[in-house]
Symmetry: C2
C-alpha cells in the first residue's frame, strides 16, 4: 500500500459539496482517500508513505475527452480549410485506407503523449485496429472508452467481418488494464451504415451489455440525406432503430430541432460537443445552451487532430465557454464552472464513468492533474474556476496521475517514450504519403 | 556591431517572396540583414559575431496585438459571464477609478510579461497614466503604439485636462525608446465622447500628425444609441467628424452593414478584430470575411485580460481561423495563412508599422520569435503554416527578440523580473479590492 499526501495546494474538485479550497488530498493506491481544506490533519500526516508539496499548483480532476480518433494525429495539417465531405472522401479516407496496425499504434501513441501532456486522463476513441489503440492505453496508463467504428458501405461479407471484429474487440478488452479500458459499440454514423446494419449493432450492444457511440447530425447535409433516404431526421431514425434503448453517446449533434433535443433528454442520450472541429469544418454551432437547459449531458471532445488540429481539451473548454455566449448573444450561458464540468464530470457521466473519474472526491479513482499556476496569466488569484476556463492552456499541466499512478512529472512523460513516438509517427506519415 | 547568424531553423516569414523554408537568418544590430534557404553562405558564416543553432525551432515575426488595455490584467477573473455595460459600469469602471499610476505600471508589466512569453513583440495600448505604460515598454524592450484613451462624459474643464494629457503624452513619448514607442490619439468611443469633443481629438491628431484609435460598434446597443443620439450609425458619424481623414484603427467593429464596410475600405480604416473578447461579452461575431473581401486591413487584438482572460495572441489567431468558418458555413474563409497575417503583417499595417515589423525580411527591425516545434502537437511536419494557426499556443514560444535584442530565452524573461511583477500585481489587486 502507498499513501501519497499532497499538501498546500489549490483544489478545484467538480464536487458540489466542496467545490474549491486551499488544502490537502490523500491518495491511497489507485483511489482518492480523503481531501480537505487547510492543513492536513496529523493522522493524515502519519499515514502518508509519500508527500508532495502542492505550493504553486492547482489540482483538479483529469480531463475527459469524449470523442476522437487518436490515430488520425498522423494526418494533422494534411488538409485544411475544406468542407467535411471533401475533406473526408478526398483526403482522409484515401490516406487512412493505407493504415496498418503499426500506423494506428504510433498515431495513437502520438495522441496519448499529447493528451497526457495537456491534462487529459480519459479519452474516447473510435477507429479501426482497436487492439493497437488498447495497447497504447495499457502501456500509457491512461483510461479510455474504446470502440471499433464501423462504416457499413460495403458488401455483406465485409459488413459481417467488421461487426465480428467490433464484438471480438469488446470481448477481449472491456474491463482490461485494471478496468482502465472500457468498450462501446459503434456504427460510424447513420449516413455510413444502412438501417438493418445499425440494428445488428444495437443487438450486439444488448448482448454484451455495452453502451453505444456514433456520429450524429454533424452537418446539415447529413440530416437532409437522412430524411431523403429514410424519411426521418437522424434522432428519430436512431431512436426507431432502438439505439437509444442503450446508454448512448452521440458525437457532434450540431443540427437539432426542439423535438430532437427533447427526445435526447427523455432517452438520456449524452452529447459529445466538439466545438473546434465543428467550426473548422464549418459544420456549424451546436445548440449547447438549449441542450444543457433540457437536461442533456453535454461533454467535450476534440475530434481528431486532423480537424482541430490539436488535442488540448482546455481549448475545447474555453471555446465552449466563449462560443455560445457570442453566438446566442447571452453572456451568462455556459459559465466557467459549467464549461469545466463539461470537460470533467459530464465527460465521465457521458461514458458511464461517473463515480469512477471526473471529480476529486473520496472513493473515486485517483485520476487528477496539477497545473503550475505560478504564471503571469494566472495572476491575480481572483477565481481559479474562471482562470481554468478562460486563461489556462494544456501547457500549464505539470503533473498527471491516473489510477493513482503518475504519468507526467514536471511536463515529462513517465510511461511513454516521447522521442521515439515523435520519430515513429513522422516515419509512419512519410510512408503513408510517400 | 553584432551580427547573429541563426542556422538550420524553419522560417515562416509572412513575406510572399519566400514565405517558408528551412534555412538561416542573419541579424545585424537591430535589423534583419539577410535570410535564405538551406545552408548559410560562407560569407555569412565569416561575418557572424554570434551563432544560434535553430534546430527544432520555428522562427517567425513577433506577433502584433492591436487592441488592449494592459493595466486591466489586474482585473483578470474579477467578473465573468456578464453583459458589456453591466461588466463595465458595475465592475470594471468602479475598480479602475481607484487605479494609481503604480497600479497601471504593475498591471502593464504583468501584461508585458505575459505577452512576451507568448510571442507578442508589439502591442497597442489604450489607457490612462500612459507614461507609466511607456515606462514598461521602455524597460521591457517591447515595441508599442500607445494612446491615452479619453472618456469624455465629464465637465468641460476635466475634458480639457484629459485632452491636454493625451497631447502631452504624444509629445513626450512619440518616437521614444529608439523608436519603439509610437503614439495614437484616442477618443475612447463615440458613445463615451460627445461629437464636439471628438472633433478636438481629430484636430490634435492633425496637428501632431498622428494616427487615431477608438472603440467602435462593439455592441448592437451602441449602434442603436448612436443613431438615436446623433442620427447616424457610428461609421458615418465618425466619418462626418473627420476622423477617417486621419489613418485610423478601430477596435471591434462587430456590427457593420454593407455600406459601412465599403466606407471603411474606401477610407483605409483598419479594424482590430478581438474575437475572444467579443464572444465572452456576447457582443457578437464581426463580419471578418466580408471585411477582408472588401480590402479592409483586419488585425487581431486580445482586448484586456479582464474580458479574454489571457493575452495569448495565438488563441486569437486560431479563433479567427476557426470562428468565421463555423459561423459563415464556409470552411475556406480565413485560411491558416490569412489568420497568421492578421496576427503579424496586418497588425503592423494597422498601426503604420508595415516595413518596420510584422515580417521576416531583410531591412526590417529584428522583431522575431522562435517556437519549440519539437513537441507532439507539431508532429508530423506536414505544414507549419497550418500548425501555427491551428495547433500552436503561446506556450510554444521559447525565444523572443525585439529591435535585435533578446527579451526571452528558453521561456525566461531577460528584461523583466517575473517574480517581482507577479507579487506586485497581486498586491495591487488586493489593495484595489480591499
Amino acid at each position: 500500500m502507498t499513501r501519497l499526501l499532497i499538501e498546500n495546494g489549490y483544489f478545484v474538485t467538480m464536487d458540489d459539496d466542496q467545490p474549491k479550497f486551499q488544502g490537502w488530498m490523500a491518495v491511497e493506491d489507485e483511489r482518492i482517500a480523503a481531501l480537505g481544506e487547510g492543513e492536513a490533519p496529523e493522522e493524515e500526516k502519519s499515514l502518508a508513505s509519500a508527500k508532495l508539496d502542492g505550493k504553486g499548483y492547482l489540482f483538479m480532476p483529469g480531463l475527459v475527452n469524449t470523442h476522437g480518433h487518436a490515430a488520425m494525429s498522423l494526418l494533422r495539417g494534411l488538409a485544411d480549410d475544406l468542407a467535411l465531405q471533401d475533406w473526408l472522401q478526398n483526403h482522409m479516407w484515401p490516406t487512412e485506407a493505407r493504415y496498418t496496425g503499426d500506423d494506428v499504434y504510433w498515431g495513437s501513441a502520438l495522441a496519448a503523449a499529447e493528451m497526457i501532456k495537456s491534462g487529459t486522463t480519459t479519452f474516447v476513441d473510435m477507429y479501426d485496429h482497436m487492439h493497437r489503440v488498447a495497447e497504447v492505453v495499457e502501456r500509457s496508463g491512461m483510461r479510455a472508452s474504446l470502440t471499433r467504428g464501423v462504416i457499413g458501405l460495403c458488401p455483406e461479407d465485409v459488413q459481417k467481418a467488421k461487426l465480428a471484429d467490433a464484438i471480438q474487440f469488446a470481448k477481449d478488452w472491456h474491463g482490461a488494464a485494471n478496468g482502465r479500458v472500457s468498450v462501446m459499440i459503434s456504427p460510424h454514423a447513420p449516413y455510413t451504415c444502412p438501417p438493418d446494419y445499425i440494428l445488428k449493432f444495437v443487438e450486439a450492444a444488448h448482448d454484451l451489455d455495452l453502451p453505444m457511440h456514433t456520429h450524429m447530425s454533424e452537418t446539415i447535409a447529413e440530416v437532409e440525406q437522412n430524411v431523403r433516404d429514410y424519411g426521418y431526421r437522424p434522432v428519430e431514425h436512431l431512436d426507431r432503430l432502438g439505439m437509444f434503448g442503450r446508454p448512448t453517446l452521440v458525437a457532434h449533434a450540431v443540427h437539432l430541432n426542439d423535438d430532437e433535443i427533447a427526445l435526447l433528454a427523455e432517452r438520456g442520450v449524452a452529447v459529445s460537443h466538439n466545438p473546434v472541429s465543428n467550426l473548422k469544418l464549418a459544420s456549424g454551432v451546436a445548440r449547447v445552451p438549449d441542450l444543457l437547459k433540457a437536461g442533456v449531458t453535454v461533454s467535450l471532445g476534440t475530434d481528431s487532430a486532423a480537424s482541430n488540429n490539436n488535442l488540448d481539451l482546455f481549448q475545447e473548454i474555453s471555446m465552449a465557454a466563449l462560443l455560445h455566449k457570442g453566438v446566442s448573444g447571452d453572456p451568462t450561458v455556459v459559465p466557467a464552472a459549467e464549461a469545466l464540468r463539461m470537460g470533467t464530470l459530464y465527460g465521465a457521466r457521458s461514458i458511464g464513468l461517473e463515480g469512477v473519474t471526473g471529480q476529486l472526491k473520496a472513493g473515486l479513482k485517483a485520476d487528477f492533474i496539477a497545473l503550475n499556476v505560478d504564471r503571469p496569466h494566472f495572476v491575480p488569484r481572483t477565481d481559479y474556476v474562471s482562470h481554468l476556463a478562460y486563461a489556462a492552456r494544456g501547457s500549464d499541466v505539470a503533473h498527471v496521475w491516473v489510477d493513482g499512478k503518475q504519468l507526467l512529472k514536471d511536463g515529462k512523460l513517465l510511461t511513454l517514450d516521447e522521442e521515439k513516438i515523435k520519430a515513429e509517427a513522422e516515419a509512419c506519415f512519410r510512408r503513408l504519403r510517400g
